[in-house]
Structure formats: C-alpha cells, structure tokens
C-alpha cells in the first residue's frame, strides 16, 4: 500500500467582502487567489487530493461569479481531486442551490459531498464526509461514522466542520463534534474545519485553519496542512504549510507614564512586507497627555506603510501631571480650565462617559495649546 498524502484545508470563505478596509480590493483578490496558492502547494508537495472541511463560501448563496470561478479553477487543476463538504456558512439547507449548481457542472475532479456516505478517493482509502445541513446543528454530524463499515485494511479519513469539546476559552465556541470521534469511528485522521487557525486536537484530529486569514483574531499568515498516512492505523504525519498572502497582526501594548510611546510601538511592529500586513494595535495602561497626541501622530505616520494599521486606545488611561497642566498654562483661566477637566476626568462620582469626555477634552486642549494642533 502506498502512503496516502493529501492537503487538508478549510474555511476559504470565498466571496467575503472587506468593505471596512481601505484596501478591500486587494484583500478580496487575495482571497480569490487562495485556491491558486493551494494548488501550487499541493503540486509542490506532490499531493493529488485536497480535502476542504467546509465553508468554501462565505455566504449560503454567493454570487455566481464567486462559485463559478472557484469551480472552474478546481476543474482546471485536473491533476488534483477536490473533496468538499458544506460547512455552517454554506450549509446544505441554505446553499443547496449553489451546491446543486456546482454538482450539475459535473467536473470529474470536483466532488461535492452532500450526503453522509462513504466515498473512496482511492480504492484503499475511505473518506467519510459529515456535511452540515444547517447553520447551527443540534447533533454531532460525525456520529454516523461509528457505524460506517469499510473493507478491512483501508485508510479511514473523516471530513467534518464544526466545533469540538474540550477546548479552553481560546478554542471554538460551540460543543458539537466529539473530539475522540477518531477512536469511536476508527478513523486514521479526522480533517476538521471551522477554526481559522490550525489546531491539533489530538494526533489524528486536526483543524487546518483558513488558508487566508480575514480578521485580527489570529496573528500570522493563513496555513494549510499536508497530511501523510502511511498505512491504516498508522499515525498521520501532519505538516502546517503557510498558504496566505496577508499577515494579520493584533498587537497589545501596555504603556506607563514616561514610556517612549513611539519607540515602544515601532519595536512591536511585525517584520515583513508591510504592504501585506494588517496591524491593529490595542494600547492599554497609563499615559501622559503628550503621549496620547503622540499616538495619533504615530498612527498617521505609520498607517500608509501598511495594508492597514490602526491604534486603539480605549483602555488607555490618562495620567495628568502638573507639568502637563503647566505646559498648557502656568496660571490663569486656561490653567483653570485644564485643572477642571483633569479633575473631572478622574472624578469617580460622574459617569464613565463624562469622564471620558473630560479626558478627551483635556487631551484636545493640550494638543491645541502645547502642540499647536488645530
């Protein structure tokens, strides 16, 4: 028996829009090209099968251009067999029209698995798909695999989409699929989708993650998994392979009064081609009045260098020093106004919003008077 090698991926979310980003077109193009990159990876690793564990499309009824382009690209790569199951985003109930249309194209190398029925990518390999029929399931779609019989001495691979039990707060949100399904169903490998970062649940159960990231939830590039199963009951060899174009980075920075804000932020910025990096910097801690202005200035300076860069200081608290107020005015009405705002910004008896307003007003006053901002 030859080892069975395949590419495991999921959550392509083709057709997902990025309207809130200035460079939404580049992000959309990169998403469309994720199939191209997967094909290239497959060929590079001498893989003839690509298993997509759900959420090929972002919406149940994507624009025809979206699914037709995808179908065409899969079909053109005729040296590769594609095995697809509907996920929660493109579940059978809501996406039947799309799936039926793709099936109707009858591309011989594109297999849309809409039924929980064993198929055989190779005579010695059984693929047990668990297509989702609804957006939110109420039962484990992989249960049927326990009773699914296959010829002896055959590699059994499960293909499913959804959350598994046993994760901590960083893991998937719902508890549907049994994480030990591989044991009950005697699977050599369970290829999972839904989680956008690759994740090893157990030796035989893996989430591939999305090949192209689409949010700041997980840092880094999108990936896929190259899986090799030498023989039935052998442990699979799983290799994560970068597959994404854009690097999404969420950076948390804690500030203290006296920190060199600009230096600290610049140091935290990711290395690489900045035009393909999206950065969100969440600043927390405490800062001086002058530092808040520095943040805004820094954001204006850095943003154009990246595909996206934004600094969020919602959790950054102002620490007002006498020197800051002296800088506004050593005395007189202007100083009185600064004092009043500073006092209000730290007054626990007023609402949080009023404190925030006073703090922002003080920052603005400082920016106007001290930094000459208009």
């Amino acid at each position: 028996m030859l080892p069975f090698r395949f590419l495991h991926t999921s959550d392509l979310h083709l057709g997902k829009p990025f309207g809130v980003f200035a460079e939404k077109d580049r992000l959309a193009v990169a998403r469309r090209h994720s199939l191209t990159r997967l094909i290239a990876i497959a060929r590079k690793h001498d893989v003839a099968h690509i298993l997509i564990a759900g959420d090929v499309f972002d919406t149940p009824n994507p624009a025809p251009a979206t699914w037709r382009q995808a179908a065409a690209e899969m079909a053109e790569a005729d040296d590769i067999a594609w095995w697809l199951i509907p996920g929660n985003h493109d579940n059978l109930r809501e996406s039947s029209a799309t799936w039926n249309a793709m099936i109707a194209l009858e591309h011989s190398n594109v297999h849309v698995l809409t039924e929980p029925k064993t198929v055989f990518p190779r005579p010695d390999v059984a693929l047990l798909p668990a297509p989702l029929t609804r957006r939110r399931g109420t039962s484990d779609p992989t249960t049927w695999m326990d009773a699914a019989t296959t010829p002896p001495e055959i590699i059994r691979i499960g293909l499913a989409h959804g959350a598994v039990t046993g994760f901590d707060s960083d893991g998937p949100e719902a508890d549907i699929i049994a994480p030990d399904r591989d044991k009950h169903a005697k699977l050599d490998y369970l290829a999972m989708g839904d989680w956008h970062r690759h994740l090893k649940v157990s030796d035989r159960v893996w989430y591939s993650g999305t090949p192209e990231r689409d949010r700041f939830k997980h840092n880094g590039l999108g990936q896929c998994l190259i899986v090799e199963i030498e023989a039935p009951q052998k442990l699979p060899q799983v290799t994560p392979v970068p597959a994404g174009q854009f690097n999404w980075q969420l950076i948390n920075i804690d500030l203290l009064p006296g920190d060199d804000v600009a230096h600290k932020i610049r140091e935290a910025l990711p290395i690489g081609a900045r035009r393909d990096i999206l950065v969100r910097i969440d600043v927390a801690g405490r800062a001086r009045l002058s530092d808040t202005s520095a943040l805004a200035t820094l954001e204006q300076e850095l943003a154009p260098e990246f595909c996206h860069l934004s600094i969020h200081s919602k959790d950054l608290h102002l620490e007002v020093a006498h020197a800051d107020l002296d800088a506004i005015a050593p005395g007189g009405a202007l100083r009185q106004a600064g004092d009043a705002l500073a006092q209000e910004a730290s007054d626990p008896s007023i609402s949080e919003r009023d404190r925030a307003l006073a703090e922002a007003a003080l920052r603005r006053l400082h920016a106007i008077v001290v930094e000459g901002q208009e």
């Binding site: 009405a333 202007l334 007003a361």
Partner: protein, 872 residues
Amino acid sequence: MKIRSIELDNVRRFTDPVKVGPFGDGVTLLCQPNESGKSTLFDALYAVFFVKYTSWSTKEGIPSLQPHSGGKVGVAVEIDHDGALWKIAKQWKPGAGGDARVWRNGTLVHQGDAADDWIKALIVGDGAGPAGLLWVRQGRVSLSTDGKYGAGDKKGEEHEHRRDLLTAISGALDAVTGGQRMDMAVDVVRKALETLQNKNGKPKLHGRWAEAEQHVDDLAQQERDLQDKVSNLRDALDRQRRLKKEEAELSAPDIQKSKADDLAAAQEAYDIASRFAEKLSALEIETALAEQTYDAARAGLEQRKQVQAERVAAQQNAQELNTELQTATEALDVAALELEACAKTAKEMDDLWSDARALQRRAMQQAARAGAVERRKSLQKTLDQAQIAEAEHAEASAVAQQGPSKEEVAACEGLFQSLLTARAAQQASAPQIEVTYTKEAPALLLNGEKLAAAKTYPVPANATLDIESVAQVVFSMPDDQHGEAIAQLERRLKTALEDGDWLDIAALRVAAASQKAAEEKAGLAKMRMQALAPEGVQALRSTLASLQDENTSKDDDVPDIQTADAAVEAAEASHLSAAEAKIMAQAKRDACLTRVTKTQALVTAATERLARADIAIDALGAHDPEGGEAELKILQNAALKSAELLAVQKNQAPDLEAAKTHFERLRAVAEQTQKRRADLREELADLNARIETQAEEGVEEALSDIKARLEQAQSDRDVAFFEVEVLRRLMRALETEQTAARDRYFAPIAQELRPLLEDLWEDADIIWSDDTLLPKALVRRDTEEPIDILSGGTQEQIAFLVRLAFARLLAKSGAHAPLILDDALVYTDDDRIERLFDALHSAAPELQIIVLSCRQRAFRDLGAPQVSFQPI
C-alpha cells in the same frame, strides 16, 4: 513711569525742534488753539512708544508725521522710571532706516532693536505686571474704535480697543484670562465645532458629523434593501426546495402506478353498479305499471258509485226546487193584488190632495179681492183731499198773480229808502230850534206841529212857524239841495206808486205782503197735493176709476183661507201615506218575482244535473258488481308480487353513488395531479429564473459587506459625535473659566470706577463686555443703557472715567501709567466738566495726567500748571 518732557524734530509743522515740558507729577495742561500741534504731539508720543523705528508704513502713521519738506522724523521723550531719568529717542526715515536709542541718566544703554524691545517691555509689560500709558484721543466720543482699521476688520478693531484702553494692563489681564493662548484655544475649538455643528447644535451640512450620520443612514437603508433581497432569495430557495420535493413525490413511478390501479378498480366497480342499476330500473317500471293498473281499476269502481249517488241527489234536488217554485209563484200573485189595491188608494189620495189645493187657491183669490175695496175707499179719500189742495193752490196762485211784481216793489222800496235818506240828510243839515216857553206863552207850531219845550227840532226849508196868536214865520233856504232831491224822489215815488195803482208805499207794502202770503199758501197747497198724489191728481183719479171696475163679489162655496189650508194639509198627509203603502207593496211584489226567477233557474240547473247524471250512468255502461270486485283483487295481487320482487333486488344491488363518487374522486385526483405537476414545472421554471437573477447580484455577499461597513460607519459616527461632545465640553470649560477670570479681574476696576461714576450719576455702574473687555452698558437707576445709544457727552465721560479708574488701579499697585487726554472732553457741558476736573485733581496725587486741549476758556478753571511748545 512718568513723562517729563517731549521733543519733536521735523514732525509735521515743527520743522524746527521744539520741546514741551516739564510735566509734573499731577495734572499738566497744554492748552493751545486748534492746529497748534497738540494732536501732532499726541501722535508723536504714540509713535515713540508703539511704532518700531524701522517702520515707515502708512498703517502705522509715520509718513503722516513727516513735514512736506521731507526729512527724518524725530521724537524724544524723557521719563522717570525706576528712580532714574530715562530718555527715549527715535528717528524714522523713508525706507527701512531709522534709529532708536535709550539713555539712562544720560548714558546710552540701548540702541536699535534692543531699544525697541526695552520700550515695548516698558509699555506692554512682560508678564511681571502692568505698565505703560493710558490714552484718550482727541475726538474720541465713544469707546469703540476710531476707524483706524477698515470696516469688517474685526481683529483690527478688537486690537485697537485693547491697545487703546488696555495696553497698560494687557499683561496682567492676559495672565488672568489666558491671553492670546486662551483666545487661540477658544478660536480653534470654535472653528472645529463650526465645522461639525450648526448654530443650533445640529450636524452641520456637509460637515464630518453630518456626513457620518448620513453615511450611517445610507448604509442602513442599503442594509434594509439587501436584507429584503436576501429574504426574498431565501424564501424563493425554500419555496423551490418544497416544490421540488412535491414534484418528486408526484412523479414517483410507484405512486403513479398505485394511483392508476386504484382508478381502474374504481371504474370497474362503477360499471358493475351501473349495469345492476339499469336492471333495477326496469323492474321498478314493471312494478309501477302493475300498481298503476290496480289503482285504475279501483278508481273506476269508485267512480261508478259516485255517479249513481250523484243521480239520486240530483233527482231529489229537482223535486225540492219544483215545490219551491210553486210556492213562490203563489206568493207573487198575492203580492200583485196587494200592489194594485195600494195603487188605487194612492190615486184617490192624490186626487183629493189636488182638489184641496185648488180650493185653497180660490180662497186666496177671494181674500185678495176683499183687500181691493178697502184700497179704493182710501184712494177716494186721498183724491178728495188732493182736489181740495188743488183748488186752494189755484185760488192762492190767482191771488198771487194780482199783487205787485217783485221788481215794482223793489223799485218803490228803493225810491222810498232814498227819500228817507234824503230827508234824514236834510234834517241833519237843517237849523235847529229849541223853544223855551215863558209862562203862559202861546205854543209854537212848526209846520203845524207844536214844539215842546226844551226839545230841539230841525227847521226844514220853507218851514212855517206859527206862533199862536202872534205871527207866522216862514223859513226859506236859498240853497236847499236836499229839498230838491227830496222833491224829485217824492215825484218818482209817487209816479211809481201810481203806475201800480197804489195809494202810497204802505199800500204797496200791504199788497206785496198779501201777494207773498198767497204765494206761500199756493206753495203749501202744492206740496200737500204732491204728497197725496205724487203722480198727479189725474193719475189718482184714473187709478180710482180702474178699481171701481173690478168684481168684488164673494163666492159662498169658497171657505176661508185657513180652512182651505187645513184641508190641503190633511189631503197631503193622506196622499203621502198612500204613496208609501204603494211603494212597499211594489217592493214585496218585486221580491216575490225575484224568488220565482231564482227558483226557476235552480229548477233548470237541477234538471240539467239530473240529465248529466243520467248521461254518466249511461256512459259507464252495463255493470256487474261481483265480477268487478274479483278482477280488482287479481290486479292487487299482481302489483304486490312485483313490489316484493323489486325490494329483494334493491337489497342485493351495489351502491352506485358510492362507486361513482369513488371513481370520480380518483379520476379528479389523477387529473389534479397532472395539472399540479404541470403547474409545479411552470412555477419552478419561474422560481429558478428569479433565483438566478437574484443570485447574480450576490446579495448575500453584498449584505455581509454592508453590515460590516454599517458597523464601521456607526463607529465612525460615534467617534464624530464623541468629538463634538469633546469640543463642546472643552469650549464650556474655556468659556466658564475665562468669564470667571474676567469677573475676578474686573471686580477691583469696577470698585475703583464706582465712586468716579457717582460723582456724575447717582447709583451708576458699568457692565463689561466679555468679548471686547470694554464697557458695554451704563446702569443708572437700575436701567441698563447700551453705551452706543448714550449721548456723545456721556460716552466721552465714561471713556474718561474708565481710564482714570484704570490709572488709579495701576497706581495703587505701584505701576504709574501716565494718562494722556487729547481733547477728551469735547461734548461735556460746563457743569460736568467742573466735576471731571475735580475727579482729575482727586486722582492727581497718585497719577501723572497730561491734558491737551484747545478749549482755553473751559480749561482755564482746571487749575493745573501749563506747558507750551518751546523752540530748542
């Protein structure tokens, strides 16, 4: 700082150097006529303190200081400051040239820009406290700008206000109110707010806030539209799924075969039931026929019985009616006789009534004749009276014809009256005679009439007076006109009387009276005659004569009229009674006749009925009662047997209606299924096209995009609104503190000013403007009056006192600022100017006040040392 002297060199009219001074500590007066150089001195002083030596701009006014002959403009000032004597000298020349120098106790300490900086620090202050000068310019009637800056140049105007009034205190004021930094901050915040909100605090059109709001609204609308489209798409997909499922169920071969088999079975059952039903129908007809035959036979028998009974009844009826006819005929005969008798009696009574009426007429005629005799008697009597009256009339008329005519009487009476008049006139004009008799004198007779004693008598012409026994005296009157007239009248009267054969006038009158009486008597007779015989006596006679011709005889057989009337009445009653009896007899006879006629008709009908019964009996033919009953029994048995057979067959028959209903239902189902499949295919085709169209738009992807963008837009909108609120909060903080600072700063100024104001107006106070820091209104007797509407005199007095108050405040704080008044009291009346002089002098121990004025007479009473321009 205190000014000690001022030197001008080549400044306007002072082409040769002049010096003004010395200026003491208190009030110093420079009182010169117009165009003697006071304003030049003022402008020069302004230039040396406030205009850089390098400036030669029209705006700063230096070129205007240059005389027509040109050359450098030079100004120098000696001041006391910090316990030293300082000299400041500046020179300006066209272009960027010039010089500035400062000496301290005769030693040059600053030159050029350094000198300018030192002067600026001296005047404006460097934050350490106020210093400098206070100005009130010539012609300044109000506290507003003097027009140095163009209209609309708000910044320039404000600058002018402050430099004019607050130059000396600007440093301190800025230190308190925030100064230019505060102004700049307020300006920036205001401008930032103005880009975001309008005056009402609403989002400003095309502003970032408004755009953010609009963007959210637009995206929300797009989201709703897309949500609708997505819902439509999903509904269509659901519908498509259901239809496909239904179509698949309907098209399933096993289901179709099952339905076809059911339909065939139902049709066969229906055919069997139909055939059985046809047999049953024939049997029903046979049964009905047997029953019908039996019923007909039974009915024939019943009919024969009825016809026979009818004949018996008809015969009996005919007999009864004949008897009734006979009785009625007899009654009719009796009634006819009774009618005849009644008619006869009525005829007799009618004749009797006619006779009575004739006799009544005759009685009435006889009574009429008796009335004519009485009338003739009356007429005769009347005729007699009328004839007497006629005779009296004739007699009286004859008498009346014999008397004088009315013309004769009138003529005689006229003449007589004239005569009497003439005689009276003669008598009136005649001499009078009165006799007094002596004793035993003889009587005098005038014209034979004895004259009584003591009585006056007229003496007519030709009168004769006889004295008895003595003489006769004749009186003659030669011109006795009356006598002639009298005589003529007497003659005419006499002639007239004689013509009528009357003796005198009295006789005439008697005759006239008799004639009148006869006429009256004739009139009365005529009237009586007319009353008795209106149509004349002759007519009366004719009437009487005609009456005498009528028959006045009386019939003895004619009763009186009362008797006749009673007879007529009795006869009429009898007549009426007889007539009534006749009518009743006639009615009775008519009733009997009717009865006879009716009975005759009934007899005829009964006869016909009997005939019809006979005919019917004949029509039925001969009849065997026993044979008929047997035949009827046979028919009845046949009908019963047929009915029993029918009942048995019915029990065995299948339910045709059920079979038919079942078959038709299955056939309808089959047809509906076919139709439903066709409809489904059609609807699916439409649905597919619709889904394809909607899917082409990629509405779900668009909706996902819009949702994210809407979320971002809402966040942007919140950020924009937060910024608005931040700016509002900041503006509120700045304005609050600025106002509080000004209030704090102006409090001591107001305190300083109040006693000065009260010298002029009781209970007066000043309200300050937050914008210009200048007095805004004067409050008197609790009434607020804007400065702008006050009189020119009041405005310049307030300007004067405000500056004086500032100067006093500065002086109390150790900063002496010279107060320079350039004809500052142009409009002030003599009384007020005296009080202002008092105010100046009361401030003089603390201040240096330089007064420039052309009002020599008014300022003569200022009581201050004077200075003048002195050539150097």
